[in-house]
């Protein structure tokens, strides 16, 4: 392993097992310098990584000065060998260097795992490459899977169990890698460049430092770094690598983000499990700690888990390891044993706690003296592009959404709002894109900068961070209507990832929700999105499908939901129904859907168990839609208001029908006739009994409307206000007029 005073430690990125072995090996070797696989231009930032204020998980971010969206990440967890190597070097006064290609080269290239070779194309090639990438990034995981392990760490610890010395294990890994890479004809040009760069840096360090050197790199690279290459050929390979100016800093990271594969290197499959392995390293009873963690999570969810069950789970794990002929229980054994002994065999219950256990909820911290944060940087750039200056004093801003710059400003302000930075507040709240104009009140507060830095865990640019934060909120949203509102804000802020995630969550939730009020309440925000659909086309289609489904589900659930409600619940449902009906009419769904919705309303009306207020509202909506003829309505009103009905029910029905539709009585002769006939048919006693409910409905009308109604009833006026006399061929005249108008609006040359 040692070669010319250089020791090569082939590690598994974010592998606690190799991390433990590495620390032991460094302690034994006492190198004067530690060379780590990482962007060489970030070397000055390395000591900061070892600072005591740096609390992993954190990530090193590198991005081109002018384009933070192209950020590359180098995440470090507590159990990352690279991080522990840096800590060791800082504590032992060894020099620290990164030796990989400068970050600029990576940015210029097609990304960390891409290669610069000409694209051979074809699905097969891509698939092959994915496998290849897995092999390069996590060769130890590949070896483990070949040996029948699901978890690379369990394999590593079993290997260690059989080779207790830290030195030979790295030699053994290097041998394994040599075998794996044996017969390899060509590697991607990008990989070749990286390895060439590392070789050159190692050679330079060899000249510079006197004493043992330690090279910490992905196990895959060890054979290539040890192999003899001339400096000349290496330098030739590196000719013309990108030299874009990049900015670098650290950002706090989270457990779940460690698990994502994006950015540099392989994501960790289970950060929670790795952290457990690292924290309990060297303990014989480590598996008990893991079982105890499972029990803690389960207990927090309200399950009774006794200590005795933990003992049984541990025993079963031991027996399983024996049957599988492994030296000690690993991840799979502990999982299977806890399913059988703690979860009553329910694998589903494991799925419920899996995310919490495996991903963890850790959030890292960075020292206060970390260089500039990319989000603030990005904000400044956006402010410049939008020509908006942060000012502490309030200022009104009117934005025309039809212009590109207006849309840009609006999107920026909406995104900042998503991030909790309310630099701008909408003054005409409501339907933000209902018109082409938005009015904002702008005021910048200094704490917004702090809030932006806090948002770094969600992403390096305002767009990405807003996406990330909304996705998190979507994950936490409990009700359908809340989700619909979140999706609406995602689309308003032009956040496509978040809106895709939101739509998926919405679909999922829509399937499982049978809460009618929630279903109906979610219709208006979705309908709004479709009507002012600036969403991309595919999304609009998906939304339309979803909306149809929500309407159908809502209509099916409606008759059941309308039963036996108290006054408050009935009022809420009635309000939701009116809004949803409004929205549905505006969206103009297919006849099928419309029919389903009206069938739901009709079922409410027909069922004798429906709450009177809701039934009245349903009757009104059906009447408006022309599904109830005037005569039928008159009969219905007469029936529902007849003296046999309890006064309270009759009043509620009447209120449901006419609340918000009292004006209807002024203009609608049929309806007025029906009510009139009904009122006239009452004998004096019944009339007096009904007076309160009539008062309640008519009290919703203002004095002018009331006067008109009286005039209409007494026949003094035409049923329409003066000046609004309908022409017999009004329809045709309007169509002609509309045709002309359309021409004018579209800017066609006039022919007249």
């Amino acid at each position: 392993m040692a070669q010319g005073g250089i020791s090569y430690f082939g590690i598994r990125h974010h592998g606690p097992g190799s991390c433990e072995s590495l620390v032991k090996a460094l302690q034994e070797l006492q190198p004067v310098a530690v060379l780590i696989e990482g962007p060489v231009d970030a070397s000055p930032l390395l000591p900061l990584l070892a600072s005591s204020d740096m609390k992993p998980p954190v990530a090193l971010l590198c991005y081109p000065e002018d384009d933070p969206a192209a950020t590359s990440f180098w995440p470090f967890a507590e159990f990352s060998p690279e991080y522990q190597a840096a800590l060791w070097a800082a504590a032992n006064n060894a020099r620290l260097r990164f030796i990989d290609l400068p970050s600029a080269a990576r940015l210029a290239g097609p990304g960390p795992e891409g290669s610069m070779e000409a694209d051979s194309g074809g699905a097969e090639a891509t698939e092959l490459r994915a496998e290849e990438v897995a092999r390069i990034q996590d060769p130890i995981g590949t070896l483990a899977r070949a040996a029948g392990y699901e978890d690379g760490e369990s394999w590593w610890s079993d290997i260690i169990e059989q080779n207790p010395e830290p030195g030979p294990i790295f030699a053994a890994i290097a041998d394994a890698m040599t075998t794996l890479r044996d017969g390899e004809t060509s590697i991607g040009r990008f990989e070749a460049m990286r390895e060439a760069h590392m070789r050159l840096e190692i050679a330079a360090a060899r000249k510079e430092f006197d004493g043992p050197l330690a090279v910490v790199c992905g196990a895959w690279h060890v054979p290539a770094l040890r192999a003899a290459h001339t400096q000349k050929s290496d330098q030739a390979l590196l000719k013309g690598i990108g030299r874009r100016k990049t900015m670098m800093t650290y950002a706090p990271w989270t457990g779940p983000r460690l698990a994502l594969g994006h950015g540099y290197g392989a994501g960790v499959v289970a950060p929670g499990w790795c952290k457990h392995l690292w924290q309990t390293r060297g303990r014989r009873d480590a598996s008990v700690f893991w079982l105890a963690r499972i029990a803690t999570v389960l207990r927090a969810k309200g399950h009774m888990i006794s200590t005795a069950s933990l003992i049984e789970a541990e025993r079963l794990a031991q027996a399983l390891a024996a049957i599988r002929e492994r030296p000690k229980p690993g991840f799979e054994e502990l999982r299977d044993a806890s399913i059988a002994a703690l979860f009553n065999g329910e694998a589903l219950l494991w799925k419920m706690v899996e995310a919490e256990l495996l991903l963890g909820a850790d959030v890292g911290e960075i020292p206060p003296d970390t260089p500039l944060a990319p989000l603030i940087d990005d904000l400044q750039r956006n402010q410049k592009a939008a020509r908006l200056k942060p000012e502490a004093l309030e200022r009104e801003l009117s934005i025309d959404l039809r212009s590109e710059s207006g849309l840009f400003r609006s999107t920026l302000l909406h995104r900042l709002n998503v991030l909790g930075v309310s630099w701008g507040t909408l003054t005409d709240v409501g339907r933000s894109r209902g018109t082409f104009r938005e009015r904002w009140m702008l005021a910048w507060q200094p704490e917004y900068a702090v809030r932006l830095v806090e948002n770094l865990i969600h992403g390096p640019t305002i767009e990405k961070a807003a996406n990330g934060r909304l996705i998190q909120m979507i994950g936490a949203a409990a009700t359908l209507d809340a989700l619909a509102t979140l999706v609406q804000s995602a689309i308003t802020a032009a956040l496509s990832e978040a809106s895709t995630a939101g739509l998926a969550a919405l679909e999922e939730k829509a399937a499982h929700s049978s809460e009618c009020l929630e279903l109906v309440d979610s219709v208006p925000p979705l309908a709004d999105i479709i009507r002012y659909g600036e969403a991309r086309k595919t999304e609009t289609e998906r939304l339309a499908g979803l909306l149809e489904r929500l309407i159908v589900e809502g209509s099916i659930a409606l008759p059941y939901a309308a039963r036996d409600l108290d006054a408050q619940a009935a009022a809420a449902l009635t309000g939701a129904l009116r809004k949803a009906d409004e929205a549905i009419k505006l969206v103009e769904p297919t006849q099928d859907i419309l029919d389903a919705w009206r069938a739901g309303l009709a079922a409410v009306l027909e069922s004798s168990r429906s709450t009177a207020l809701v039934a009245g509202c349903a009757a009104h909506l059906l009447y408006e839609a022309g599904r109830l003829s005037a005569d039928a309505t008159a009969d219905l009103l007469a029936k529902r208001l007849s003296p046999g009905t309890q006064v309270l029910d009759a009043a509620a029905f009447f209120e449901g029908f006419f609340s918000g539709a009292g004006q209807r009585l002024i203009y609608d002769e049929y309806l007025r006739g029906a009510v009139d006939a009904w009122l006239a048919s009452l004998d004096e006693e019944a009339f007096v009994a009904h007076l309160p409910l009539l008062r309640r409905v008519f009290s919703n009308l203002d004095s002018m409307e009331r006067r008109r109604l009286i005039e209409a009833v007494l026949g003094k006026r035409a049923s329409l206000p003066a000046g609004l006399t309908p022409t017999p061929d009004g329809g045709e005249a309007w169509r002609r007029h509309f045709g002309l108008l359309r021409g004018l609006i579209a800017g066609e040359p006039s022919h007249g």
């Binding site: 009774m304 006794s306 005795a308 069950s309 049984e312 025993r315 079963l316 031991q318 027996a319 399983l320 024996a322 049957i323 599988r324 002929e325 799979e332 299977d336 044993a337 399913i339 059988a340 002994a341 979860f343 009553n344 065999g345 329910e346 694998a347 679909e507 999922e508 829509a510 399937a511 499982h512 049978s514 489904r549 159908v552 589900e553 099916i556 659930a557 059941y560 389903a596």
Partner: protein
């Protein structure tokens, strides 16, 4: 010649068990006739040490069988849970047969099972003549298994009353059974253990007390994961049952099985087969066994009333019966499924109409 309809598995598969025992040099837990690895090979299929082919007895995930065998190796009791028709009893019988060479120590638990059938009973003639004595005591399968260090099988554990279930607690935790009438106790010999089976979806059964549940390791046997596998299971069983009932089997039965199973599987899994639409699931289990029953009653309807033609109208009533177990909730689930999924599938038009009419 033996005219028994069915022999215990240790006799049917005697050759395989012997072959496994011959090539088995691994360590065996006390009282076991095979090592845990060999038992696993017996269940999952493979090759014995001398090359004899071993047929697979359980088709499904290997981890589940590993957990089951490992549980018995730790002297913890094993509870196999699952909806009907997931091979619980089958697995239990093969486990007992392979581990002990005896799968016949079995108690079928019912609502009428009392303590005397679990612990021990009395020979009343003896009891009256001589008073309480060992001679007057009638051992149960559980009693024998404890005495001889064997595996005892308890079928459908949750059908038995809770008070009777709880007599097992002492047996499981202290491995002994007191006989207060004789002021003595039976101590379980090494090798003794219990394999219980129970149904986890049935309503109206006696839920295990948590004290008892804690003493079992639980393995849940799932329904078939693969559609084709399930179709072949149903086709085979429907064919067999129709033969037994002398029902003619129309030609289109294969297609109808596939359609009915698609409906069953989609509702059971809470998502359409293409995974694009999530669905609510009804309260019933919609097991493979129910799909078989639905098909058979459809065939019967076809044979006696519809002139031998099997179609959606004939199947719809029993389909609704299988899906709608709770008249309010399940009805909404089915209505929603019909409106959001089946309505859009032209080849299910018959089912859409027939089910809508049948609800």
């Amino acid at each position: 010649m033996n005219a028994a309809i069915r022999l215990p598995v240790e006799q049917v598969y005697a050759a395989e068990l012997q072959a496994l025992a011959r090539g088995d040099d691994r360590q065996k837990p006390a009282g076991w006739s095979l090592s845990p690895r060999a038992v696993l090979t017996y269940l999952m299929g493979g090759k014995a040490g001398d090359g004899t082919a071993i047929s697979p007895k359980y088709v499904g995930r290997r981890q589940l069988m590993e957990t089951a065998v490992a549980t018995l190796a730790t002297d913890r009791a094993l509870l196999l849970l699952g909806v009907p028709g997931t091979a619980k009893s089958w697995v239990s019988e093969h486990l007992a047969g392979a581990i002990m060479g005896n799968s016949t120590l079995i108690v079928q638990c019912t609502a009428g099972t009392d303590e005397n059938q679990i612990r021990y009973g009395w020979n009343y003639a003896q009891l009256l003549a001589k008073g309480p004595s060992h001679d007057a005591l009638v051992p149960t399968p559980l009693y024998r298994a404890m005495q001889e260090g064997k595996l005892c099988r308890l079928e459908e554990l949750t059908r038995m009353g809770s008070d009777v279930q709880d007599t097992l607690i002492t047996v499981l935790s202290e491995k002994m059974m007191p006989v207060p009438e004789l002021n003595t106790s039976i101590y379980a010999q090494r090798g003794f253990n219990i394999i219980a089976t129970a149904n986890n979806r049935d309503k109206g059964v006696n839920e295990l007390s948590s004290a008892l549940k804690r003493r079992f390791n639980v393995v849940v046997l799932p329904l078939p994961e693969d559609m084709n596998e399930e179709v072949s299971i149903v086709s085979r069983r429907v064919g067999e049952m129709a033969g037994g009932l002398d029902l003619p089997v129309p030609k289109n039965v294969g297609e109808e099985i596939a359609r009915v199973l698609t409906i069953f599987r989609e509702l059971r899994s809470g998502a359409t087969a293409d995974g694009k639409v999530t669905l609510k699931t009804p309260s019933g289990s919609l097991s493979t066994a129910e799909a078989i029953a639905t098909m058979v009653s459809g065939l019967s309807q076809a044979a006696w009333f519809d002139g031998g033609k099997l179609h959606a109208e004939g199947l719809a009533p029993s389909l609704v019966g299988a899906i709608v177990k709770d008249p309010v909730q399940d009805k909404v689930v089915l209505e929603e499924y019909l409106e959001t999924v089946l309505k859009k599938r032209p080849d299910y038009a018959g089912y859409y109409a027939a089910l809508n009419a049948a609800i």
